[in-house]
């Protein structure tokens, strides 16, 4: 019995050995529960089946006991035990083997029906059965375990592959969505915002920041920050990097950089936000990828930190490189679009400016227009410097009109003026200045300087912009020169015209002043020296001629004064008044000269008020009356009338004289023209002044011969709509 027990123990320990070998790998924890479940004592159906197999073998052996030898009967049990060992595992197979041995010993080995073994041969046979059971069961269990493990591994591998595929799909979808989002915007800022937020989401980290380089020093402005809720406190973070440290390495080398936090901390270029530590969100690992422009130049960078799980991987880097490239292309596309758009606008403005400049009537309005256009296109404060009377360059025009230059900037302006070359901002001379000075070079040398104070220094210095500016400048210079020349020519013409007029006026006036003066002098001297020799009638005539000639002189002076007034551009002092007032005043002043002549006036009572300068219209009437008196006989009747027709008031003076010579109807209104058939006295100014005065009133004056002979002079005055309370006064 002890021997049997020891064999059982041995088989049990033998079976325990391969269990360890069956483990797929020491680390593969997932295999353990499978083995455990196989050895579970509560696997009772298998044991029951084993017992059943023993029972079945016993029945078979019992029937055949009489025909077969003992060892052959044992074969039946061996077959049963092998079957159990193959299918039901090690525990049940050993139990079955032991049970088979015990039952066989009890029923068939003599002494039968007792647990005793007489022959050592039988003991060996029984031991073989147990050994076979143990070996086969352990082998088949191992095979089964292996199959289970393989199935499990296959399931897990499939699940892992599916998960990886899902992540990949999600990332691809993220990339695709980012591509779509980026390509649907026309704003650089928005592009960066999309890029930053998508990068943070796709790579699943807490912090993403992107910025564009402002210049080749790699300083860059933060354009977009994307932060998870973990960094909510830093949402407004916008510290502008100064273009040094690790950022610079990425931009300069134009290569991605992937560091764990430890690597970052120990990096020589890393300074741990020495100054900005409080303002900057903390980092945990760092992945930075440059944004590279179409020409391979760096245009900025995008950086990530604090990945949600683990450190940044190579795959993350690839994805970010993709994103960055996509963003960079979009930004370059937008920039070139903006640039093209800007150029288009600038070209339009240039066209508009040339148009406006050509239409400008004088130099001030030309300069005003030009400055406004430049200021609008280039977004700058603009100023024009011109030499003053002493040749000193001084600011003369500004856009907008406030804000003056600094003294130093004037020095740069003077340099530009003297050398005919650009100076100031970004040029070779005075390059430290904020202002750019461009000389206005015309055909006859530099005429002034255009100074610009740009809002964004980088933009203005762009080669294309500078070229455009130079185009604007040369346009302005040419237009200015043209306008100045035109003004000078106009002034010269005016001077010449004035000279000519003055000389003819002088000769005419001196004649007309001398004639009455001669008469007066002669008559007065006669009266003084020989007065006792003249009879009273002659004396009276002499005195009268003195008086008349003096009056004529006074009229001439009045006319000259009024002409000067009109020609110097003095505005007529118009007031709404009845025509009768002026007619009455004119007739009163001509009273003496009209004596002995019939003059009928016919002014309808319903004549409207007219808007006139009464002094000037009185002069018109006096001149017309004077003209009629001069050119008609002393008793020839005159007729002064007025009427309303076609919305104007027409005033006419008709005489019964010889009328106008053919072709004289217009010429009589010319300066210094005197009627051929007349008495050839007077300056020939009266009617010309009439025309000037009537023109100034917006009316028309003309002359013609009347149907019944004699001349008719007419003038019109525009009728104003008169307010009712003035038309019909009460009280």
């Amino acid at each position: 019995m002890d021997a049997v027990r020891s064999v059982c123990y041995a088989s049990a320990s033998m079976g325990a050995e391969p269990r360890e070998l069956n483990q797929p790998s020491p680390d593969d924890t997932s295999a353990r529960p499978v083995t455990r479940s196989l050895a579970h004592p509560r696997n009772w159906p298998a044991y029951a089946q084993g017992a059943g197999v023993v029972g079945f073998c016993t029945i078979l052996a019992w029937d055949m006991a009489s025909y077969f030898t003992l060892s052959n009967l044992l074969m039946i049990y061996l077959i049963g035990t092998v079957g159990v060992a193959t299918h039901l595992g090690r525990g049940p197979s050993i139990v079955t083997a032991v049970l088979s041995v015990l039952v066989f010993d009890f029923l068939f080995i003599p002494p039968r029906f007792r647990f005793a073994i007489s022959d050592v041969e039988h003991l060996f046979a029984l031991a073989v059965v147990v050994a076979v059971a143990a070996i086969i069961s352990s082998r088949s269990a191992r095979l089964r375990q292996h199959a289970v493990a393989v199935r499990q591994y296959e399931r897990e591998a499939a699940a892992a592959a599916a998960a990886a595929r899902a992540v990949q799909v999600a990332q691809l979808q993220g990339l695709a969505a980012a591509a779509l989002a980026v390509s649907s915007t026309l704003s650089v800022d928005e592009t960066l915002e999309i890029l930053t937020e998508r990068a943070r989401q796709i790579i699943d980290c807490h912090l993403a920041i992107s910025g564009l380089s402002t210049d080749q020093d790699w300083g860059h402005a933060i354009h977009a920050v994307a932060l998870s809720d973990k960094y909510a406190a830093w949402r407004d973070f916008a510290q502008k990097p100064d273009g040094s440290g690790v950022y610079r390495l990425v931009c300069e080398a134009n290569r991605p950089m992937r560091l764990t936090q430890a690597q970052l901390e120990s990096h020589p270029a890393w300074r741990g936000f020495s100054k900005a530590a409080g303002a900057h969100p903390p980092l945990r690992g760092w992945l930075a990828v440059p944004l590279i422009g179409v020409d391979g130049r760096n245009i900025g960078l995008i950086q990530l930190s604090d990945k949600d799980a683990g450190e940044f991987t190579e795959a993350d880097e690839s994805i970010l490189v993709h994103l960055a490239q996509m963003g960079a292309i979009a930004i370059e596309k937008i920039r070139s679009y903006e640039d093209a758009e800007w150029r288009r606008r600038a070209a339009e403005q240039l066209y508009a400016m040339s148009h406006d400049v050509a239409a400008a009537l004088d130099v001030p309005s030309l300069l005003h227009v030009a400055l406004r256009h430049i200021g609008e296109v280039f977004g700058t404060r603009v100023m024009m410097l011109f030499p003053d009377a002493e040749g000193k360059l001084a600011p003369r025009w500004r856009y907008p009109e406030t804000g003056g230059p600094e003294p130093g900037e004037l020095a740069a302006g003077r340099w530009a003026y003297e050398h005919g070359e650009a100076a100031g901002l970004g040029t070779r001379a005075f390059s430290a200045e904020r202002t750019l000075h461009l000389p206005l070079v015309g055909a006859r040398g530099t005429i002034g300087v255009l100074s610009l104070v740009p809002r964004d220094a980088g933009g203005l210095l762009d080669r294309g912009h500078l070229l455009l500016l130079e185009t604007f400048t040369s346009q302005i210079a040419l237009a200015l020169e043209r306008a100045t020349l035109a003004e000078q020519a106009h002034e010269a013409h005016l001077r010449m015209e004035t000279e000519r007029l003055r000389s003819s006026l002088l000769s005419s006036i001196s004649h007309d002043l001398r004639t009455p003066l001669a008469t007066i002098t002669l008559a007065a001297s006669s009266l003084l020296w020989r007065h006792e020799e003249f009879d009273p009638e002659t004396q009276r005539e002499l005195k009268e001629s003195i008086y008349e000639e003096a009056e004529r002189l006074a009229r001439l002076v009045d006319n000259l004064l009024n002409m000067t007034r009109l020609e110097s551009g003095i505005q007529a002092r118009k007031a709404r008044q009845p025509l009768e007032d002026v007619v009455g005043a004119a007739l009163a002043r001509m009273e003496r000269r009209l004596r002995g002549r019939s003059l009928t006036t016919s002014l309808p009572h319903d004549l409207p008020l007219v808007l006139i300068d009464d002094v000037l219209i009185e002069q018109v009437l006096i001149n017309l009356l004077d003209n009629a008196i001069k050119y008609t006989g002393s008793e020839s009747p005159l007729e002064l009338s007025a009427f309303v027709s076609d919305g104007v008031v027409t005033v006419q003076l008709a005489d019964r004289g010889p009328g106008l010579d053919p072709g004289d109807e217009e010429r009589v209104f010319e300066k210094f023209h005197r009627g051929a058939s007349g008495p050839r006295q007077g300056a020939g100014l009266g009617l010309a002044i009439c025309r000037g005065i009537i023109d100034a009133h917006g009316g028309r004056i003309w002359a013609e011969n009347g149907p019944d002979g004699g001349a008719v002079f007419r003038f019109t005055l525009p009728m104003e709509s008169v307010p009712a309370d003035i038309e019909a006064p009460h009280g």
Binding site: A550, L553, L609
Partner: protein, 250 residues
């Protein structure tokens, strides 16, 4: 009527050739010797006591020491602005002032009238015109000093009874609206003198109508149509273009 127009208001008994010592005193301030010589000859022969000054400063001294009945002032003086002289004289005296002005000095002339000058004569002028102006201002000053207005004003066929507010032409009564009457009465109060637009507007319509010269012109037109035989050639209500109106007294 003609008697009333004579210069010797304070000594109405003296005729045109009366004692010079009893005639009105006139100070002429003009820088042109010819003008002063002419005025002296004309005015002394009519019995005026004549004093002259060639500069504004002298003129102010003369005006203060001679106690003139009337000052004739040329606006274009070399040393002092004529307007300034009027301002200074008006600080202490209401003596009538007639300004002499050139035709192109209308603006100054209206300012002079506003500052208190009583009338104006444009150069060149005839002696008759100047004498008429002198008579008018003296008559006006005499009436003012006696604190009374003539109850009845008459010139030509026109007769204005200020007491009864009656107006007649050739004996036929003319019906005027209240405003027309006020306008005519104002001109009668300043008979013979020019009345500038602003003054007429103020006196007839009140202080807030300064800028409505249109009213004035329309009412003047209506007034003329009622009292003038030919409104286009007025006998009584004369227009002084650019200045104002004048009711003639002769």
């Amino acid at each position: 009527m003609v008697e009333a127009m004579r210069p010797g208001v304070r000594a109405s008994s003296s005729g045109p050739s009366g004692e010079p010592a009893k005639g009105p005193t006139v100070v002429v301030i003009d820088d042109e010797p010819q003008m002063r010589r002419f005025l002296r000859a004309a005015l002394e022969s009519l019995g005026y006591r004549f004093h002259e000054a060639a500069t504004g400063q002298d003129g102010l001294a003369e005006a203060a020491t001679r106690q003139p009945d009337v000052i004739i002032l040329d606006l274009g003086l070399p040393d002092l602005d004529g307007l300034e002289i009027i301002r200074r004289v008006r600080e202490w005296s209401t003596v009538p002032i007639i300004v002499l002005s050139a035709r192109d000095q209308e603006g100054d002339m209206i300012k002079a009238l506003d500052l208190g000058a009583n009338d104006y004569v444009s150069k060149p002028f005839g002696v008759g015109l100047l004498l008429a102006r002198l008579r008018a201002v003296l008559r006006h000053a005499a009436l003012a000093s006696q604190q009374r207005a003539e109850p009845v004003f008459a010139v030509g066929a026109l007769r204005v009874d200020l007491m009864r507010r009656r107006v007649s032409v050739d004996g036929a009564e003319v019906h005027l609206t209240p405003t027309e009457y006020r306008l005519l009465a104002t001109l009668v109060r300043h008979a013979g003198l020019v009345v500038v637009h602003q003054q007429l507007l103020r006196e007839v319509w009140g202080p807030n109508h300064d800028d409505q010269a249109n009213y004035l012109r329309v009412f003047m037109l209506q007034l003329r149509r009622k009292i003038e035989a030919d409104p286009a050639r007025p006998r009584y209500l004369r227009t002084e273009p650019g200045v104002g109106y004048r009711l003639t007294v002769d």
